[in-house]
Amino acid sequence: MQPVISLENIWKIYQTGDVEVTAVRDVSLSVQPGEFIAIMGASGSGKSTMMNTLGCLDRPTRGRYLLDGVDASALGRDELADIRNQKIGFIFQGFNLLSRTSALENVELPMMYGGHRLPAKEMRERAMRALELVGLAKRFDHTPNRLSGGQQQRVAIARALVNQPALLLADEPTGNLDSRTSIEIMDAFQSLNEKGITIAMVTHEPDIARYTKRNIVMRDGVIVSDIIVPDRFNAKEEMRKLDEEHQAAKLVK
């Protein structure tokens, strides 16, 4: 099967004044369809650079990046924008929804751009389906400030899914959420992954990484470990445990 992500000897070197900083050195990586990976590492390990490269927000200095079979390492600004539009769904730590814009319109946003033009009615239907998938169809007309953090992140997930991308890219998706909501979001990711969607997630929390199938750890711009998660968390199971603990705590009181 053709890998979704294929990095071949990727280098990323930043030029800050006279100093050259090598953020990523000679990284190769292959991710197959249906995988759910976590890229981990301390700050400065190169994981943000990896994220930007995988997300086609930035081009590698050297090396080749094939995304869903398309060479994205030598494309121009607008072509990269089209790739992001068609093949990648972004989920950010800060949700990055448009404020004072309804959930539905936020989800419609990716369909507004790119080469294809859908009729307004179909755009709306597709956005509603994406919202249903994350369980927020009822709140389609709410603006982000009327939604909780978890709900906002689920709107962001719906937005990421709406163009049926080859890859979901999540950058610290639980960074701004409490532990309970974090589990909710991981539950959403796990069920999407079960439906066959490939997910790559950047996180520095080992707990969160344990919900994924494969953990890649980076340090100083290189991959130092790449393992299949042995005892994977199941979000539904964890949620039940959390509820039980909560209950127990109440009884003690």
Partner: protein, 405 residues
């Protein structure tokens, strides 16, 4: 991205900061309003003046005695008393293209009939005067050539004077006394309304100029001569030839000032509109300064808006917006701002012109060309001053924009 969707986003962004949007538009609003008001009032004035000029008659040339600019003290038109009846006779005889002349005497006098009296202006004219000025009679007719030759005591009465002295009665055939000299009324003139100077043209009693000279004023010189040319296109030539003839007759050597003034109907129109031209230039200057300042205001606010919405730009770019999409979004926002200001300015301009017209008493006229023109000009201001901020937004790096706090 679809243009309609972009337009909707722009409108929403402007609605979000209502106060700011309105303040930003103010420059454009004032500029466009000034243009519309200026054009409306100016054109109204022009048509008003043209209508008044038309009451003079057709292809009229007015010759005034005495130069308007002779020496330090200006006696006013006709004060010098340099024009003679013989000048009028020689003009009609020697200048080709002159169809009619009417020597003019002007005076003011208390007139009375029965137990009514009224102060009115007394005009001494030739019998052709009414034809020249296309002044029709509501009853009776003009005095005759014979009346003029014999200096008969006959008069034609203006509408205002007739109403003041005779009320509803028909004055034709009645006697009116001017400085105790009885005059027989031969005709009543139709109303001509206000003159260019704002005086009532109907408040008049017209008598033969010979009668005026001999029996009323005792003057031997004329105030001026009314001349009619055969057609519009020979006006300039006729004016020049009259000037040359009069210089010769008055023995004025080259290099010396004329002791008379020759004015064509068009010159009078130009003099009358000169004032409104000054106002037009002044308002035009205000308008253009205001539009430039308004444009700079738009540029300023758009730059602020781009900075404020850096993250939004980042999000849009992350989900696939091209630089062009972002550029268009901000450009449309700037154009919406400026053309909305233009529309409001047009409305306010009409309102202002309307209320000015209330005070000055003439109707306003704004040609549709100016309305369309000022709308498109304000839109163009938006494009011009919105381009730089929009380009700045489009050139943002998506990674930096997403990280912007």
């Amino acid at each position: 991205m679809k243009l309609t969707a972009t337009f909707r986003i722009a409108l929403r962004a402007l609605k979000r900061n209502k106060m700011r949007s309105i303040l930003t538009m103010l420059g454009i609003i004032i500029g466009v309003a000034a243009v519309i008001a200026m054009v409306g009032v100016g054109n109204g004035a022009k048509s008003q003046v043209e209508a008044q000029i038309a009451t003079l008659g057709k292809n009229m040339i007015l010759i005034f005695s005495g130069s308007m600019t002779s020496g330090g003290a200006k006696g006013g038109w006709g004060a010098a008393g340099t024009m003679k009846v013989e000048d009028a006779v020689s003009i009609v005889r020697e200048v080709p293209g002159v169809t009619m002349v009417s020597p003019e005497i002007r005076s003011g006098a208390q007139v009375a009939a029965g137990n009514q009296n009224w102060f009115t202006s007394i005009l001494g004219e030739g019998p052709d005067y009414f034809d020249m000025r296309q002044w029709e009679f509501s009853s009776g007719s003009s005095f005759t050539e014979q009346d003029t030759r014999s200096a008969n005591k006959v008069a034609v009465i203006g509408k205002t004077t007739a109403t003041q002295i005779f009320g509803e009665e028909d004055p034709v055939g009645q006697i009116i006394r001017v400085r105790n000299v009885p005059f027989k009324i031969t005709g009543v003139l139709k109303s001509k309304g206000l003159s260019l100077m704002g005086s009532d043209q109907d408040d008049v009693l017209v008598v033969p100029y010979t009668t005026a000279m001999k029996r009323l004023t005792g003057a031997t010189s004329l105030r001026g001569i009314n001349v009619q040319a055969a057609s519009d296109d020979i006006m300039n030539r006729v004016q020049d030839q009259i000037g040359a003839l009069l210089r010769q007759r008055h023995n004025i050597r080259p290099g010396h000032d004329d002791d008379f003034t020759v004015r064509g109907q068009q010159d009078i129109a130009e003099m009358a509109t000169a004032q409104s031209k000054t106002m037009t230039i002044l308002l035009g200057a205000i308008a253009s300064v205001s539009l430039i300042v308004g444009g700079i205001g738009i540029m300023n606010i758009m730059l602020v808006s781009v900075t404020e919405r850096t993250r939004e730009i980042g999000i849009r770019m992350a989900v696939g917006a091209h630089g062009w999409d972002i550029l268009l979004q901000f450009l449309i926002e700037a154009v919406t701002l400026s053309s909305l200001g233009g529309l409001i300015g047009i409305a306010i301009g009409f309102g202002t012109a309307q209320s000015i017209s209330h005070f000055v008493g003439w109707p306003i006229m704004v040609p549709p060309m100016y309305v369309i023109g000022s709308f498109f000009f304000s839109a163009a201001v938006g494009v011009f001053f919105g381009l730089y901020p929009a380009k700045k937004a489009a050139a943002l790096d998506p990674i930096d924009a997403l990280r912007y706090e």
